[in-house]
Structure formats: structure tokens, C-alpha cells
Amino acid sequence: MAPMELIIELILMPLVAFVVGMMMVLMMRRIAAKLQRRIGPPFFQPLYDIVKLHSKRTQVSHGLIHDIGIVMAMGGYIAAETLLPVPGMTGIAEKGGIITLLYLMMIPSLGLALGVGQCANPNGSIGIARALTAMLAYDIPLVIVIFGVAYAAGTTNLVDIIAVQQAGGFETWGAVQMPVLAIAGLIAMHASLGKQPFEIYIAPAEIATGPMVEMSGKYLGGLFVMQCFQLYTTSVLYVSLFLGGGTTWFDFLLKSFLVLAIPVSIAYLFPRYRTEDLLRLMWKWPVMLGLIGVAFVL
């Protein structure tokens, strides 16, 4: 690959992710509105929010680590996007593979955790403690699923995993080959989004939005950007693992939005679990399904 081409890809991939991510945020809010018989926000609402937050005149910082935390939260995802192949662009997906991607996806949350920590607000700290607990809950089924997929494909290289699925059309899709794993993956993915009923670490009425409690202006704006990336990454990862990635941008985006629509639609119908219930749920059903799925694969 020509270096210039690579550089363009590396720039484009996060950019695309951001734009698509904003649309996903919009979709999420629209779905929520529809479920609640509301009209919902206008099309550019995510953009308005981000611009407004960045343009705040006074912004409160609790110190350098607070700043760095936001930088890491955004930067980690920007880096992670380059490992996530999209139609026509593979970036450096072959140099890292899915395990690296999984780890890179943890960096933003941990960067955020650092930043929140320095805010010296116990609400934030409790939020982080819960977020990490939630991570412990959903990552276990998630890695089982990823193990199953990677083992079935015989590689950890996402490009190859996608290629394997695209080789035989619809029949070779991960979701068709490994339906049990796909279901487990969907549940884990839903939990990893941190939406209801799994939003234990935001819990506005209880811990005042947890990690975001001391975030003002561009700090909150950074988190909004991060949320765009998060939605994008999660759904695209799922599409890449189970739905054969995308051959064209159209079906790629269609799949991504559809996949995301499932958990989002469920989310706004439920209240919140308690932490231990989330753990219990995650360690029971998706893990069980995942293990059954892996047993099929082996």
C-alpha cells in the first residue's frame, strides 16, 4: 500500500466514524422519542450540542489529568477506528488484529476514568467504579464471543474474518454460521453501550450522571464525541464479526444502523438494573450462550 494512501485512510477512517457516529446518536435519540411518542431532536442536534459545548466561554478544569483524560477518551477511539476495517479501507487493521482493537477500545474509558478521578467528586468516582464493574460484566461474554469468531475464522485479523464471511455470501455470515454466538454478542454489545437497562454508571437520579458530573463545556463535548465513536465502533465491530462487514458503503451502513437499532429500541423500554443484577445477568445468559456457541465452533 502506498504510504500516501495509507495516510489518507488513517485520516478518513476516524472522520467517517465521527460523522456516522453522530448520525447514530441522532438515530438513538429519535428512536427514544418515537418510543415515547415524541417528535425528537432535529437532524443536526448532535452537532449543535457538540459545537455549543466546545464554545462555552468558561470551562472548569480540575487539573491536567482532567484534561488528559478527555484527550485520551477521544484519542483512544480515534486510534481504534484505524483498526476497524470499513468498505474500501483497512487502515492498519492487519497490524493489530481484534485483540488489540479490543484493548484499544478500553483506553478511552480508562482515560476517562483518570480524568474523572481528578475531579475529586465522589459521584464521578462511584460512576467509574460502576463503569469498570460493568466492563467486567459485559467483557466476559464479549471475549467468549470474540474467541469463538476468531477461532472459527482461524485468525485474529479482522480483515480476514470479514473476508471469510464474505466468501460465500449470506450463508457464510457469522450470524448464520454461529447464531448462538451472535445472540450472545448482541447482549454483550448492548451492555457495552451503557444504555438502559445497563446504564448503572450514569444513573442520573442516583449519582448525578456519574463520570460526567464535573464535566462542563468542552469536557462534556469531548464525551459527546466519544459517544459518537463508541456507538460507531460497537456496531461496526458487531457487523464485522457477524454480518460479514460491508461490501459497499450502503449495505455496510445499513447493517450498522440496523444492528444498533436493536439494543437502542430495547433500551428505552426498561428501567435500570442494579449493579449486581447486571453482573448476574451478564455472567449467566450471554456467557452460557457464548460457551454453547463456542462449543459448536470447536
Binding site: 476516524p14 464554545s55 470551562q59 477521544m74 485483540i99 478521578g117 468516582s125 449486581e276 463456542v294 470447536l298
Partner: protein, 626 residues
């Protein structure tokens, strides 16, 4: 007699011990010892070809005792471990010089004993690493155990208790090994490695089982493998600061070294694989792998519950040992490389972490996670060291811990071991939770009023920490450097070698190139920083009391910090699972011994000795006649 480079190393090491012994009471002793460690390291560097596939170097020193010949030699394996040993000794000792030393002395510590114990540890470890036959291995093993005991026990009080517990475990381990050696001697007729190598392939299954259990348990105790892990955390945590950095970095890895040498190299992982456990699907190797995995999980989650920073780190030290063993037991090219590489990586970040925590103790006088907080503004460099260290410990990019864990995961994936894989990931997740608690409760959150005047750690402590930090990052960026050594170790013990590059590993089924990963990550951070600093308004730093508290007015005397019972929600669910079963097991063994002891004393206290005598005589004669 000409001195080989190995002899020179021994000589310098011996001189170091002597210097510590004779001059240890004078203040510059720390510096002298540090310089001497440096010289030892240089002597080790003379043997650097070993790290790149060179021929083993023998010592001119050999003994012939009671029909046994004792010899010492260095190969790639020894060299690799010696490098880590000397490196961590050098940096820990350097760290101890200067202010730490003065404080230690003022608070009544015995500096002479400290230096002596350190030098003895290093010396005995070198002897162990150089062992050329099983007997010299055992001699080195015992020396290491007792030298470690000295270092652990020297602080007195709780430390001595912990050290006593350690030495009881260690003796049990040593005796298992001793028994194993006797069995090997009987079947191989010699304790030379070559003889054992040939004998190993012809051993009966029962015999091999026995040996695997004896040696596995013996070496496993030193490594802190489940269920023999209880001694380690208290013992390491209570050792004086730099000592715990040193012990945490390398001491229990001696167990891994011995496992590598005896179980992997001499008995051969293939032979172990052939040991099936009847009526189950698993064999001895699976058993080891599962022990490794439990060693990852349980201590890690125990660490999460600790409220003392040093205890927390020490418990993690046990857990990380599990990854090393797991990688080695999988024993394919990547797994073994991962396990071995983790030894190096673990040493670097564990030493850095212990040093950082010691620096905090040095400045604040406590390691209690409920009594600290917010120190990042007062000790930013120490914070950075700790941060880099915990990223390594948790095995996240861009630090070196990620590479070794990646290799282990990769091998589990390749070999199709889903449960082990998941268990290993659970360990990593637990580690992340636990280390966040560590860094949060010390450095983040609210700064306590009494810590308002705390200063950054002195440079004498800072520089070794920064060096370690640099090593952690550089070997994360360029894992090819240590992987070259690891590859020659793998060759030396007869394991397959992965196809490594400067930036990681090449493999048809998924490669890793850390240069790219880190490059992209930092580019991402750069872009994030650009957006953050240039696309948004100016921010203003505010005081920590200017904080959301539901409208409440915060004042300096109000502690507004979340530290205790940090993962309350998680503990709601799993809190009940901490049964202390192993503690219970340990206690019951102890109680059993106590009980038996009571009985035996009763036996001897009985006055009717004549009755014993006559009845025994009658019994024996009756036995003969009948």
C-alpha cells in the same frame, strides 16, 4: 585456573556481599553496593552473546562431594533471568540510596542488614540461575529461600510473622523438591542434566507423575501458585520499600525459572502432556494450565479487596505469575514467548509500582488507600510512574505488559482453549479494576489537608523510577528487543520460537506490530489534544472544593472522596464468594499439626514409661513368635 566470564560475575557478586558485610554500616555503602551491582551487570553484559543464541558458558568452579559433582554454567535461560535479577537489584539499590536510606535509618531500620540481605539475595539467585545440575540447583534454591527470608524478616513485627509463614511454605516446597531430586537420582543414577534428559523419556507414568507433582509443588510454592499462594503477599508487602520492589520483581520468578528448567527442559512438556488423569479429559499439562489460571484469577480478585497499596501490588504479583506459567504450559511458540516475556515485563512494572508506592509512603507515611488521595498535584512524576506501571500491569497498550499478554492470549486462541482464554481475560479485567482503585485512591480525588505540603519524591528515588518507566515504555514500543532474548531462551529449553520483529510478532493468523499500534494511538491522542485544546474555549483550573455536591458547600474539613469499599456493587454479588477457603485450609493444616502435637506431648508426658517398654517388648516378641 582461568576465570571465565561467569566466574568473574560470581567474583563481583561475592565482593558485593563482602562489601555489604564489612562496610555496610557506613553511609556510602548504598552507593558502593549500587556501583558494584552495575559492575556485575557489566560482567553479565560480557556474556551478552548468550542472549542471542550463544554457547553456554561454564564456570571453572566444580566440586566433587560425596560422589556428586557440582558444576555451574550459564545459558540463555540463566542469562535472561540474571539480567532481570541484576537490573532490578541495581535499580532497587539505587533507589534505596540517599534519602530513603537516611529515613530508614532514622526510623530505626538496620541498613547494614538491608544491604547485606539484598546482596545475599542477588548472589544466591545468581548461583541458582547458574546451576549446572540438580544438586547445585537445590543448593541455589535453598540459598535463595533463606536469603529471601532474611530480607523479608528484617523489618520485624508483622514482617517477621509473614516471613515465618514464608519460610514454612518454602521449606515444604524445598522438601518436595528434595524428595523429587532423590527420586530422580534413583531413576537416572545421576543428577546431571544430560542423564536426566535421557532418563526422562523412559520413566514410568507413575514415576513421572510423582516427579511432576513434587517439583511442580516445590517450585510452585515459590511462585505462589494456588493453593500455595497465601504466604507471598504479606511477605513481600512488609519488606522494606526497595526490598519489596526487588522481591516483587524477581524473587518468585525463580520458581518459574526452575519450572522451566526442570519440567519444561528436562522432563519435556510433551512427556508431561502424556500424563492423563484417569476418568477425566484432562492431563497433567491441563492441570498446570488450570492452576495457572486460578492463580491469575483468585489473587487478582483478592488484590482488589486490599486497602494497603503494597498488599494490593503483592497480590497482583502472584496473579501475574499465573500468566507466565499459563503461557509456558501452552508451550507453543507464541505462548511460551509471552510467558517468558512477561517475566521481564512484570519485573519492570512491578518494581516501578513498588517504588512509586514506597515514594508515597516516604512522603506521606502511609500506604493505606483510605488515607490518601489527590496526590497527583503534589507528586506528579510519581503519579506518572505509577500510571505507566499500572498500564503495564493491566496489560494495556502502549506499555510492555500488553505485548506479553497479547502473546499469551494469541496462543490460547490458536490452540483453541476458550475457557482458559476467558479466565485469563477475567484476570486482566480484575487487574484493571484493582489498579484503578490503586491509582484513584492514592493520586486522584481529593487532596487531604495534611498532605498539602507534600513534596515530590527526591531525585535519588525518582531517577530509578524514571528509568524503569522508560524501559516499560520502550519495550512496549519495541518488544523485539526483549523478544530476541526470549527467543534464545526458548531455543535453549527446546521450545518453538515465534517469528518476531522489532515491533512485535509476525504470524499468518494475525500479527502484532506495536510500532504501528502505538504510533496510531499517539497520533489519536495528538488529534484529540488538538481538538481539545484548540477547538474549545479556555478552561480555568478550580480548587477541588469548587465541586458539585448537590448544592452543598464543601469545606476543607469535609472528606469528599470515595475510597472505601470501592467496588461496592461488584462486592454485593461476589463479596460472598470470598470465603477464605485457602486460609481455612491453611488454618486447618496448622490446627491439625497443633492437635497432633498436643497428642504427642501427652504421649511423652505420661509417666508410665516402663509400661511402654514392657508392652513394646512383649508386642515385638509376640510378633516374632507368631
Amino acid at each position: 585456573m582461568t576465570l571465565t566470564p561467569l566466574d568473574e560475575l560470581f567474583l563481583y557478586s561475592g565482593i558485593t556481599v563482602l562489601v555489604a558485610l564489612l562496610l555496610g554500616r557506613r553511609l556510602p555503602a548504598g552507593w558502593m553496593v549500587t556501583i558494584l551491582y552495575g559492575i556485575q551487570l557489566l560482567a553479565l553484559m560480557k556474556m551478552a552473546p548468550l542472549g542471542y543464541g550463544g554457547e553456554p558458558i561454564s564456570s571453572a568452579l566444580t566440586f566433587e562431594v560425596m560422589g556428586q559433582s557440582l558444576s555451574w554454567r550459564f545459558d540463555a535461560l540463566s542469562w535472561y533471568f540474571a539480567l532481570i535479577t541484576l537490573g532490578s537489584a541495581l535499580l532497587s539499590s539505587w533507589y534505596a540510596c540517599g534519602e530513603w536510606e537516611q529515613r530508614f535509618r532514622q526510623s530505626g531500620g538496620n541498613l547494614w542488614l538491608f544491604h547485606l540481605a539484598m546482596t545475599l539475595n542477588v548472589f544466591s539467585m545468581l548461583i541458582l540461575l547458574a546451576s549446572g545440575d540438580l544438586l547445585s540447583l537445590f543448593i541455589g534454591w535453598e540459598l535463595v529461600s533463606w536469603a529471601g527470608f532474611l530480607l523479608m524478616a528484617m523489618a520485624g513485627g508483622v514482617a517477621t510473622k509473614a516471613a515465618m509463614r514464608y519460610i514454612t511454605y518454602a521449606m515444604a516446597g524445598a522438601m518436595a523438591i528434595f524428595g523429587g531430586i532423590a527420586l530422580v537420582y534413583v531413576s537416572a543414577g545421576s543428577l546431571q542434566y544430560e542423564a536426566i534428559l535421557t532418563a526422562a523419556s523412559q520413566m514410568s507414568t507413575a514415576h513421572l507423575w510423582m516427579l511432576v507433582i513434587l517439583f511442580g509443588a516445590g517450585f510452585g510454592i515459590k511462585m505462589g501458585l494456588m493453593p500455595f499462594h497465601l504466604w507471598q503477599a504479606p511477605a513481600y508487602a512488609e519488606t522494606p520499600g526497595p526490598g519489596s520492589a526487588f522481591l516483587g520483581a524477581i524473587s518468585s520468578r525463580m520458581g518459574l525459572f526452575a519450572i522451566l528448567l526442570v519440567l519444561v527442559k528436562l522432563f519435556g512438556i510433551v512427556n508431561i502432556d502424556s500424563l492423563k488423569i484417569p476418568f477425566t479429559l484432562i492431563d497433567a499439562r491441563d492441570l498446570l494450565a488450570w492452576i495457572a489460571v486460578f492463580t491469575i484469577i483468585f489473587p487478582t480478585f483478592t488484590a482488589m479487596k486490599q486497602n494497603d497499596a503494597r498488599q494490593l501490588l503483592a497480590w497482583h504479583g502472584i496473579g501475574q505469575g499465573g500468566y507466565m506459567l499459563l503461557g509456558l504450559v501452552v508451550a507453543d511458540a507464541m505462548g511460551a514467548a509471552g510467558g517468558l516475556l512477561h517475566v521481564f515485563n512484570h519485573a519492570t512494572y512491578q518494581a516501578a509500582l513498588f517504588m512509586a508506592v514506597t515514594a508515597v509512603i516516604h512522603r506521606t507515611g502511609t500506604a493505606d488507600l483510605n488515607k490518601l488521595g489527590g496526590l497527583v498535584v503534589r507528586m506528579p512524576l510519581t503519579f506518572m510512574v505509577l500510571l505507566v506501571g499500572i498500564i503495564g500491569l493491566a496489560g494495556l497498550p502502549p506499555m510492555n505488559g500488553f505485548v506479553s499478554k497479547w502473546l499469551v492470549y494469541r496462543s490460547l486462541l490458536n490452540e483453541g482453549m476458550p475457557l482458559l482464554f476467558v479466565a485469563a481475560v477475567i484476570g486482566t479485567l480484575g487487574t484493571i479494576l484493582s489498579v484503578y482503585k490503586l491509582i484513584h485512591n492514592i493520586f486522584l480525588g481529593q487532596l487531604r489537608v495534611e498532605h498539602d505540603n507534600v513534596k515530590e519524591a527526591p531525585w535519588s528515588m525518582m531517577i530509578p523510577m524514571l528509568i524503569l518507566t522508560a524501559i516499560i515504555f520502550i519495550t512496549g514500543l519495541l518488544p523485539g528487543i526483549p523478544l530476541a532474548w526470549v527467543a534464545s531462551v526458548q531455543q535453549a529449553v527446546g521450545l518453538p520460537v515465534p517469528d518476531y520483529t522489532l515491533g512485535g510478532v509476525e504470524s499468518a493468523s494475525g500479527s502484532l506490530d506495536m510500532i504501528w499500534v502505538i504510533g496510531v494511538l499517539f497520533a489519536g491522542f495528538g488529534i484529540g489534544a488538538l481538538i481539545f485544546y484548540f477547538a474549545g474555549g479556555r478552561s480555568k483550573r478550580v480548587h477541588q472544593l469548587d465541586n458539585y455536591a448537590g448544592g452543598h458547600f464543601l469545606t476543607a474539613d469535609v472528606r469528599y472522596q470515595y475510597s472505601d469499599n470501592f467496588y461496592a456493587g461488584l462486592m454485593h454479588l461476589i463479596g460472598g464468594w470470598y470465603r477464605g477457603s485457602f486460609l481455612w485450609l491453611e488454618q486447618s493444616v496448622k490446627s491439625l499439626v497443633e492437635f497432633l502435637s498436643l497428642g504427642m506431648q501427652g504421649l511423652y508426658r505420661r509417666a508410665n514409661a516402663e509400661f511402654y517398654l514392657l508392652s513394646t517388648a512383649l508386642f515385638v516378641i509376640a510378633w516374632v513368635v507368631i
